[in-house]
Amino acid sequence: MKAAAPMAQAVTTSVSRIGYGLVLVVLVLLPFFSSTYTQYLVIHMMLLAIYALGFNLLFGYTGLLSFGQAGFYGIGAYVCAGILLRYPSVLAGVLGGVAAAAAAAFVIGVLSVRHTRIYFTMLTLAFGMLVYSVLWKWRAVTGGDDGLVGIPRAPLDLFGLVQIPLRTVTNFYFFTLAVTVIALFLLYRIVHSPFGLSLQGIRDSEVRSHFVGVHVRKHRLLAFVVAGAYAGLAGSLLAPLESAVTPVISHWSNSGDAVLVTLLGGVRAFFGPVIGSVLFVLIRELVVQITEYWQLVMGVIVVILVLGFRGGVAQAVVDAWQRWVVNARAQPAHQQAPQPAFGNAAQAAHGQVQQAAERGESR
């Protein structure tokens, strides 16, 4: 029985490598056989994925629920818009937006990560809404409730060597795809680095992490800055895509979307938020065609997820897959394979519930 688990792991790994490759190939080829509208939707999925992945570094990996990510999203979008309106270089805009969001996340993070649990959530909510109210009221700079309009999809200028125009949706699609792949890769490395493991240690037991010498607050702050930068990146890609930004993008309900997407896809799987983003945009598109009350459908989905599937879609798929692989491998060797306690995923899901119960007790 013991031998089956690593084998299943190896199979899962190679299958998932092939899977990632296939997805990437499909994404690269997509513009050649799809409409501009499809590309536009996929761009939105990618932005949402970046946004939610950053959020999940905080929530899934560090155990901090932020309800203020939309603030950083808004800062990224507005700073990028401001730069593009003055200086037409998409690289400058995006980098500026990310830097501004990261800087804001640093300041807000220093104040917020002293708190955990519910107070952290409330503080981030308040700071996020602070950004919202500033964007709403500071008419001279942000355009107030009209927002900033006429943001150009400026060309991608690589060190004065090449200039790639991004005016068409297809070109912007490729640009977004490249940025998304880089962002995903970087975050993957972060999550699997010693730093990422420390974050998970903090999530599972703050006291123990502190005991083995992890500087808990510094780690939390760094995670918060990374999450803020990712929200800012998503926002700063939105500005040239839509060519307009309005304060609504920094309202707390947009923070709620990051939470929703992550929960939908799966908190404990790295690619959970990506799956969640794809599903979110798809569901919204489908529901909007039937009824204008798509929030109602989303709300019902959230309630069902929280009540029954706290691991999200990713967890359900991983569980089913591992069960299948292990059973397929184990069956010939052991005629009566008992249901084994396989895989990290099942244990993680179990641990999550248990841990939640523990936390509930210590309330």
Partner: protein, 290 residues
């Protein structure tokens, strides 16, 4: 800026603080007893307002009756929500409670949109509330004075309920130690449902009281809940007096903020909350919870 204007603005702030207080009272009671932070609490405020508005029209402009019916209906919705949705997740982390109730916000907001649409009408004022009273030489609408009175009355009644009645004592005991209370024969499940219904009714009362003066719109719950969060966190989660003081603070300050520095009025409230939390992490009246 004359004294008259400042006084008037202060009274306006006080009366708007009362709606906020009623909303926050329910939020903080439910958190204090059940340990659940309810994102959908603002939705009950909205439902209370819509129902009161509807019944006000149906019942021939009888405000008191309309509010009473609205409260009962909202409480029934609250009981269903508590029984079937809140109960299964009570033992989970706060994050999941916030998520579930966030889902409820989405559902209720869209349901309100579907049922009532955006109502941007203010129904007529009952005859006894028409006109103004003179306070220190400033005319002030009677209805606002009534709302202030109602808010203070509710505060006193709640205090009496929790401090002086048998039921209040049981509630406090259960909040302190549910297991011990259950061992002593308290039906904790029923108590939780009752407390949740009470909290929801307070929110609905806040919404319903605004019927003759405030605009009812689908997004009002999501706007109010953020303010109520600020109020309860300011005052200390689970503390009734804290919620009262917090609501007064936020209501009056934002009223003066609108008058004196309109551009930073909204930002001001969030800043105050941040500062209070940094200085007193558990709020003005809060005690540290393990």
């Amino acid at each position: 800026m004359s004294f008259q204007v400042l006084l008037y603005q202060g009274l306006v702030g006080l009366s708007s603080a009362m709606y906020l207080w009623l909303l926050s009272a329910g939020l903080t009671i439910v958190f204090g007893v059940l340990g659940v932070l309810n994102f959908a609490h603002g939705a009950f405020f909205m439902i209370g307002a819509y129902l009161a508005y509807t019944f006000y029209g149906i019942l021939g402009w009888n405000l008191a009756l309309a509010i009473a019916v609205s409260l009962i209906c909202t409480a029934l919705i609250g009981v269903v929500v508590e029984r079937f949705l809140v109960k299964p997740i009570m033992h989970l982390d706060h994050a999941f409670q916030l998520l579930l109730t966030f889902g409820l916000v989405l559902i209720f907001d869209d349901l309100a949109k579907a049922i009532w649409g955006g109502v941007f009408m203010i129904p007529p004022m009952p005859r006894i509330f028409q006109g103004a009273v003179w306070i220190l030489g400033t005319p002030f609408p009677i209805y606002n004075v009534f709302v202030i009175g109602a808010g203070v009355t509710v505060f006193v009644l709640l205090w009496l309920l929790f401090e002086k009645t048998w039921w209040g004592r049981i509630v406090r005991a259960t909040a302190a130690d549910p297991q011990m209370a259950a061992a002593l024969g308290v039906d904790v499940r029923r108590l939780y449902t009752g407390v949740f219904a009470l909290g929801v009714m307070l929110a609905a009362l806040g919404g319903a009281l605004g019927t003759p003066v405030r605009v009812v719109a689908p997004g009002m719950g999501s706007f109010m809940i953020v303010q109520a969060f600020i109020v309860t966190v300011l005052g200390g989660l689970g503390s009734l007096s804290g919620a009262f003081v917090g609501a007064l603070l936020v209501g009056v300050l934002s009223s003066y903020g609108t008058l004196l520095f309109p551009t930073v009025e909204l930002a001001l409230i969030y800043l105050i909350m941040a500062v209070v939390l940094l200085v007193r992490p558990h709020g003005l009246f809060g005690r540290a919870r393990a």
